[in-house]
């Protein structure tokens, strides 16, 4: 088992190195100039700027310097936020994204399991039809629309109530997180609902459930121990990638609700060609995703012995 874990970790490190290299290459291949600004600068000022960011070196040397710094966990200084280290940007803003993401995953996971179980239980009856319709909506409506409507809803709610029920944006308290987290987790919740429903339906008609019923086990026990517990396994499998996707994919929600998360810096850096921030956040997110998947695999290995053998 430890060997398996070690092997997976090594694969992870290689994947991250590959991500770092691909990002570096892409960065230097896209057209555009990270130092360009509204007003043209003279050659001497330009040379000073290039020297400051090490862009005057040949590309292979920039690459070795970059990998060397990366190995020490140093991503350099941002091109646009000129006084900030990329490390500081990640350290200050990732916890915000992570907190929001965690809450969103919780909403999505619990909601998915509950709605999925409910629809499977009331298969082809009214609750099933209504929820599955909402699920289709949740999956197909893009998050910027959901976020905008969510915020508009809050504004109307506060206006109707005549006082502040929930803040329409900003960050700091739990009240600020509630609606953004729901918006962020919505499509994952919808997806998990479908997954849970089909997995549940499969199990309802399986032999061991029929046996349990024939044995005359109490319904609550059959439902909890035989049906729910087995049906939830596929949901846990996709939860790892889902956590990574939600935590890193909050750009739109962060923008609409004015939340100081990392997703915003990530996307804006691409628009601004901020080399160091793009590379820093991409490698960080890449590593996060890779190790999230590894963590789930390892946990799975502990739960399910068959995985270990393979």
């Amino acid at each position: 088992m430890w060997r398996y874990t070690f092997k997976r970790l090594l694969q992870g490190v290689i994947t991250v190195w590959f991500i770092a290299t691909a990002t570096f290459a892409a960065m230097h291949l896209v057209p555009g100039d990270p130092l360009a600004s509204d007003k043209a600068v003279s050659e001497e000022i330009r040379a000073n700027l290039e020297a400051k960011y090490g862009l005057n070196e040949p590309v292979w040397k920039q690459y070795t310097i970059y990998l060397g710094n990366l190995a020490q966990g140093d991503f350099g200084i941002s091109f646009t936020q000129k006084n900030r280290l990329v490390n500081d940007i990640i350290r200050e803003h990732f916890p915000v994204s992570a907190t929001l993401g965690l809450l969103a995953v919780l909403f999505a996971g619990l909601g998915g399991v509950i709605w999925g179980a409910l629809t499977a239980l009331y298969r082809n009856r009214l609750p099933d039809i209504i929820i599955m319709f909402l699920v289709i909506l949740g999956i197909s409506v893009p998050s910027f629309v959901v976020a905008a409507f969510g915020q508009l809803g809050l504004v109307s709610l506060n206006n109707l109530a005549g006082f502040n029920v929930l803040p329409v944006g900003g960050w700091g308290t739990v009240a600020h997180m509630l609606v953004p987290a729901m918006v962020l987790g919505l499509s994952t919740m919808a997806y998990l609902t479908r997954l849970m429903r089909s997995s549940m339906l499969e199990i309802v008609s399986s032999d061991f459930v029929r046996t349990a019923k024939a044995k005359g086990l109490p319904p609550t026990r059959i439902f909890t121990a035989h049906q729910l517990r087995n049906a939830v396994l596929p949901v846990i499998t996709v939860l790892g990638p889902a956590i990574a996707a939600i935590t890193t994919g909050g750009f739109v929600v962060e923008l609409v609700f004015a939340i100081p998360g990392l997703g915003r810096y990530f996307v804006e850096a691409v628009q601004q060609l901020d080399y160091t921030v793009i590379m820093g956040t991409t490698v960080f997110y890449g590593a996060f995703l890779v190790f999230m998947v590894i963590a789930v695999d390892v946990i799975y290995g502990f739960i399910d012995p068959r995985v270990r053998l393979e």
Binding site: V30, P31, G32, D33, A36, S37, D38, K39, A40, V41, S42, E44, I45, N48, L49, Q81, K82, N83, R84, I89, E92, H93, P95, V96, T99, I114, L118, L121, Q151, L154, V155, P167, V168, G169, G170, W171, G172, T173, V174, H176, M177, L178, K213, K215, G216, L217, P219, T220, I222, F223, L255, V256, F257, A258, P260, R264, Y265, E268, Q271, Q272
Partner: protein
Amino acid sequence: MRQTPLQNPAASSEDSFIRTAGRQLLLYTLMAVVAIGGLMFLLDALAGLVGSESGNTAAVEVERNMITISLRDEPPQLDSGQRADQISGMVLGHIMEGLLIRDAESNLVGGVAQRWEVNERDATFWLRKNARWSDGEPVTAHDFVFAWRKAADPAQASEYAFVMYYLKNGEAVAAGELPLEALGVRAIDDHTLYVELERPTAFFDKLVAFQTYYPIREDFFHSTNGRYSAGAKELLYNGRFKLTNWVHGSSLLMEKNEHYWNKDDVKLDAIKVGYITRDGHSRFNFFKDNKIAYARLEAEQLYSAMENHFQIRRYQDGSLFFLEFNHREDRPTSSWHLRRAMQLVTDSGELVNKVTKLPGYLPGRSLFPVYLRGVNSTFREEFPAPEPELDPQQALLHIQQAKAELGVEEIPPLTLLIGDTPIAKSQAEYFQEVYQQKLGLDIKIDAQIFKQRLDKMGKADFDIVMAGWGPDYDDALTFGDLFASWNLNNHGRWAHEEYDAMVAIAQNSIVPEERMAAFARMQQLIYDEVVILPHYERGNSYVTHPQLKGMVRRAVGSDPDLRYAYIEAE
């Protein structure tokens, strides 16, 4: 396993199972809600550690004498010597003060300087003895000398180092050819600053209001170990407000600076930036929810703003937008006849009324926007822009001549380089249609993100580019020298001897009448030679909280300006 005796024969039926299981599911749901609730409280405590006290302040807090606003972006650079963007400029304008400042009526008045004298080749500033930093120390002439040398220092790599070229040896110092001490500025004593100019600069007094000329105290700068302006504690303030809290990406708190020399004139106790987002719809929602004191309006929000009876205001933000031609010889746009033909069918009034459709936009007529000052009144009142002619018939004749001039059967397709914003795209499509229908020209639109557009402009990879220009300082030269043959921002590389001569007069003369006559000639040359086709002078609409008064909007300098703002009692 123990068997539970069946109490009801129907219990084994499907319906009963569903009912029981459903109840169980409800129980789990309740447990989940309780669990999430508990976790939220935990997160609440955690968020206090990582986040801010973004809190729930109203747009206008009468009791705390504070207003809350939003910013489009986090200020990227609060080091005045390095700053190059508008948002940092807005914040800096409130927390720092230069030698001279603009008052609420936009008159140039003394800031740190009490008295000043600008001559042909030098200038002297006598500083107020009571001007102080936020730690109580006096602001001295040495702080200006340090800041100006730092701005010119090649090791600092400031994008705005060129602002120091007006000082004697400025360019040589910035290029590293002369030591920093050679820069034409020195402190005669603690309260007298003496400046030597590279050449006569008629607008030097206006220039020192620019933020690159703000003071920075040397000992404090060095005490931050290279992290000057990275956070609220890594800055020293001499403006009306001081930054007391700055949570990156989230909030800034500017509080009244009790050491400010004219603190009795500061009416607000605090300005809080509560929200930072690029999303204009979000900002308008914050305004509707009474969370921020003003918000810029986009076209689609106008109706909602009117429906809500909000106070809608407008102002000219100072920027001019235009089509700029590539004048290099290998480009078809080097043909005057082609450019003239396009000029004869370009109706900037129609563009403003039918395409941009935003209130406050003025149709472009000249390189020089309407607010620039002339000798006695505004420049444009003294020297009206050439009347635009619209003559499609004449234009077609010019197209024929252009073909002959270029030696081609058909004018080759022209590349129109634009930004990737929706407004730029709709304008580009409008021009594409106008030039296609009226002149039979084939215009190819090349939409690029900001940095790539700048890159292509720099590399002359365009025939026509949709460009804009905002003023750096309050003098017509900030627009006029744009098309001097040596100006690096002259992306189309238009070169004209007479124009260069006029720019030289405007740069070197200190006689207002002579300078304005030179600008008038430039205005005419730009039109006659069809260097650019002006589109519009941009206007913005915004809504304000009814109790917020005294907010100043500016075309030049820090905007919006809340230094003189106050809250009116209901």
